[in-house]
Symmetry: C2
Subunit: 218 residues, 2 copies
DNA sequence: TAGATTGTTAATCGATTAACAATC
DNA sequence: TAGATTGTTAATCGATTAACAATC
């Protein structure tokens, strides 16, 4: 099947976390309802797009008032699977890996990072942001013990492919891939690649066009 | 104008860095030509998509052989503006900020991170990954001195809006925004928001669907 | 009530994919 | 040469946007 691992509603799903952030803010303000128009204004989107996106969560709004804040938060979290906590490990305790392990925001998404792994003997045994760093050799042994479901892959790209194989062998079912290598995995392993370079590519091209005064093409 | 700051060919531009990585690898192998088919196989894409994407760089391939590797590398770098070095500053020297300042990959994209800024007196004056950490108060003074063009915004989200204002006042023209706040900036300031939560949202939904055995919907 | 906002159905827009002649 | 691969033109697909009746 050609489109395996492609989620329908992809663009909508990617926008939901931004909506959720705003709606949670309204919730902490004690607001009972929030309208799609308000969310859209906050994010520079079209109200119709917000309504369409929210519709996939199954929530029903009230004409004139908007969407019930508490129910909306629950519905989005539920739709994203963020009502369930997933245990994750960092594989590659370099700069990026250590940073992500200390990134508090993920706690709000049900992502619980519980350990890190590295090959560097100088790092193994140390603690980073409260996480123990284990040797990569112990992956097979520790993944089941720790009940880890997700691996956050932050090794240098030359090691990505081989490390990925170890991760799969250890029984991990989902990989958040921060390397610039496209991983080859069995069909039942979920992979999402986070490509920081592509973001910088966009910014860089925008800068180039702006410099040219080429606003029409923007 | 409604679509200001929207780059045409957005999806193509975001794929180019992955192509570039593969083509540079072929280059270091000494290959003279690389075909769109080979690139496509490596990334699990359709060959026609790779050809269409490469066409925007203006490069001409040879039937049967493929694209000339050296020229292709140059053309992509030129198209992305990666042949020009841009000086950048980290604003918010927390976990993520420190990690990005030590992320070697950006060197290959002409991104030169030269300093970090933070409000924490305990951090100011220290060195992280070879970068001096300055006080945020010095932004206006130092940005012109350092010839910094890009700000990488990695402050905690409650500080995003106010810090952004300082950045704009200091004369920065492009912001790579890692917070989950949509920034409000003048029309001549370029912003690209990197949303790590949206990536985790995708992975999380994929996991949920896979669990249900709902492969048809994937 | 009047009108802001919803959900639905249809139209538009843009990106991906297909088809195929040209060619090294 | 034969055939793999290109660039172009057309078709398809999916996502965004528009229009509007329903309604709290």
């Amino acid at each position: 099947m050609a489109n395996k691992n492609k989620v329908s509603y992809g663009p909508s799903i990617r926008r939901l976390p931004s909506y959720l952030h705003i709606i949670r803010h309204a919730q902490s303000n004690g607001d009972q309802f929030i309208s799609g128009t308000v969310i859209a204004n906050e994010l520079n989107l079209e109200p119709i797009q917000v309504r369409k996106d929210l519709a996939i969560t199954g929530i029903i709004g009230k004409p004139k008032k908007g969407y019930p804040v508490n129910e909306l938060v629950t519905a989005i979290e539920r739709y994203l699977g963020w009502n369930v906590t997933h245990k994750a490990i960092i594989v590659g305790a370099g700069n990026l890996g250590s940073a992500l392990s200390g990134y508090q925001e993920f706690k709000n998404h049900g992502l619980d990072i519980i350990a890190a792994f590295d090959t560097d003997p100088a790092k193994v045994g140390k603690i980073v942001h409260g996480l123990p760093i284990h040797s990569l050799d112990q992956l097979t042994e520790l993944v089941p013990q720790l009940h880890a479901e997700i691996a956050i892959l932050t090794v240098p790209s030359p090691y990505a492919t081989s490390t990925c194989e170890s991760i799969v062998k250890a029984g991990i079912k989902a990989i958040w891939n921060f390397t610039n290598i496209k991983l080859k995995v069995p069909a039942d392993i979920m992979v999402w690649r986070e490509d920081l370079s592509s973001g910088y590519a966009m910014l860089s091209v925008m800068m180039k066009l702006a410099q040219k005064g080429d606003t029409a093409a923007l």
